[in-house]
Amino acid sequence: MAGRSGHPSTLAQAYALTCALACALATPWVSAAAALKVNGSSTVTPVVTEAAEQLQGQGLSIQVDPAGGSSGGISALGDGRIDVAMSSRPLKASDHERFPGTDFRSVAIGYDAVALVVSRDVWEGGVRQLSREQLQGIYEGRIRRWSELGGPDRRIVFFNKEPGRGTWSMFAGWLYGDADKAPLVSFPEVGSNQETRSKVASTRGAISQLSAAWADGETVFALGLVEGDGEAIAPTSENVTTDRYPIRRPLLLITNGAPDGAASTLVDFLLGTQGQSLVEKHGYLKVAAPPTAAAH
């Protein structure tokens, strides 16, 4: 649209400018499509993601995002930013206190265990189980070397799970009775299960908290837990199912009020045969009894 002198005409410039402004202003609206927003625990995410893909064929649009962990998802639900929260820990009194206006309803779609995993050199160095007291010692920095625990003479490299993670809450809850009672410590942190496994596997003397489904027994190794004078209980699926393994957690979908519409479809799908086989496929445990949505 060259004008007389070869420059774009005034009209062309106006048009171009308007288009540019319109694009810039429209971008936020374009991305806010009417999808069901699901945020929260990275433990639950793979199951819900695959369920969402299968439900897409039925015309449902579901956005699954593991950002924030269980606590992050619950906070987002309380703020009304998302529709369904995924959590790998039960709701706490403090969650209800922080969001008094929210009617939290949670449904368990499966179970997971939190394992304490170590790197190969520690496992093969003879450390196969730890007691609650020993783990407290590690967590509080009193026990510094594996040799104090019957293992190789190497420093203990403890990767602490990010405090927002359900995995950490369960671990700290078991270790100290209540996660809020855990002492204030500073360790290098790891976030997702993927990162945890990768870092433990590639660091000598490493130990961290990991979702039991991710402990493959090849790169990282799950320790047995000793409670009191009891024997060591490994996080095998049998031990977890029969509730012998102490650090077990539910996989929860949480909604504000009873789930309806797309959220309801999602919950029903996951509690049905197809959904439960997804849960198992990802290394978690199925729900034992028929589902009833309960307010906690």
């Binding site: 106006a14 400018l17 924030g68 906070s75 420093r155 942190e189 590639s202 660091t203």
Partner: protein, 330 residues
């Protein structure tokens, strides 16, 4: 008036004025549009700054200046001290610059001055491709390749793992290197060839011509390149997040010693990029503390970027020596 005196082909023009604004009056949409866009950009930045300042007020009231000087961060008991993270950010960026600046400028000298002309384009293309690699890819490469290697390199300091401030610094150096090389190479090439030629004709060898002519005359461009790369390093999140260790409260006993660099640490970006931001959202004080970190980071990066522009600015307008010609006088 054309040379033969006819006026038939001349285009009617507005009377010439000395003001460029008057010239722009012929294109009202461009003038208005660019004014609006510039204004919006400036407002957006100032708005951001103001927003973060206001939203972080609770933590300033709670902790006062100890927010900046405190060395403990335990959010569960509402203790917020950002100093170890400021240290981490500065340390990681300093390591990155120390590694990337000399190497980058040397590479730029090589590409601009020594490489034969036909190899210049492939070399520049390769470097610019590196500059375009997404941060997360660098981060993953860092996790896969760099952590193990750094733990070996830093063995005398006995780091717990390969996640250290030094690792993040090295990774950042790799990431900002292409930026430094490209910008420095541009700066060097903007030095006129006639300058180098005149130096060679005086008997300078190639190295001396580079040292005495190219580098000094490109100096402001080189400084700007380094400052802009520093700005990028300060703000880099993903790659640093994956390899820095993310251990809070790592405050060195002695500030300028090397040992803390071989240990895990936390930077402003690695803290902000973590999940604590999501946890913080429900708690006003915690949220304010996180936004305060963002405010500090924003001011740091803005300061460095402004410095970089200020250094680059004046030189882009100066007439190249040898070309600056006044009208002849006696």
């Amino acid at each position: 008036m054309s040379p033969d005196g006819s006026t038939a082909l001349t285009v009617p023009q507005q009377p010439p004025t000395s003001s460029r604004l008057a010239g722009l009056a012929r294109w009202p949409w461009i003038y208005t549009g660019s004014l609006v866009a510039t204004g919006l950009a400036a407002l957006a930045f100032l708005g951001m700054l103001g927003l973060f300042a206001v939203e972080s007020l609770p933590v300033w009231r709670h902790a006062g200046l100890s927010y900046l000087s405190g060395i403990e961060w335990f959010f569960r008991v509402q203790r917020f001290g950002a100093l170890p993270m400021i240290y981490g950010t500065l340390a990681v960026s300093a390591i990155a610059l120390a590694l990337a600046a000399p190497l980058g400028i040397a590479s730029a000298v090589f590409v601009a001055e020594i490489l034969p002309a036909r190899l210049r384009i492939p070399a520049k293309t390769a470097i610019e491709l590196l500059a375009g690699v997404p941060s997360v890819v660098y981060g993953l490469l860092g996790v896969i390749l760099l952590r193990g290697w750094m733990q070996d390199v830093l063995a005398p300091f006995e780091p717990l793992s390969g996640d250290t401030l030094a690792t993040a610094g090295v990774l950042l150096a790799v990431m900002i290197l292409p930026t430094i090389v490209t910008l420095s190479e541009d700066a060097l090439r903007s030095v006129p060839a006639s300058q180098r030629q005149a130096a060679r004709a005086l008997g300078f060898n190639r190295g001396e011509a580079i040292l005495r002519i190219s580098l000094p005359q490109a100096r402001s461009g080189l400084v700007a390149a380094v400052l802009l790369a520093l700005g990028r390093a300060l703000g880099e999140t993903i790659a640093v997040f994956l390899v820095v260790g993310r251990q809070d409260n790592q405050w060195p006993d002695r500030l300028l010693s090397l040992e803390p660099l071989a240990a895990a640490g936390q930077t402003l970006t690695s803290k902000l990029g973590g999940s604590e931001t999501h946890i913080a959202y429900g708690d006003p004080l915690h949220w304010a503390a996180m936004l305060g970190l963002a405010l500090i980071l924003l001011i740091l990066v803005a300061g460095v970027t402004l410095a970089g522009s200020a250094v680059a600015g004046p030189s882009s307008g100066r007439a190249a020596p040898g070309k600056s010609v006044r009208h002849p006088d006696a």
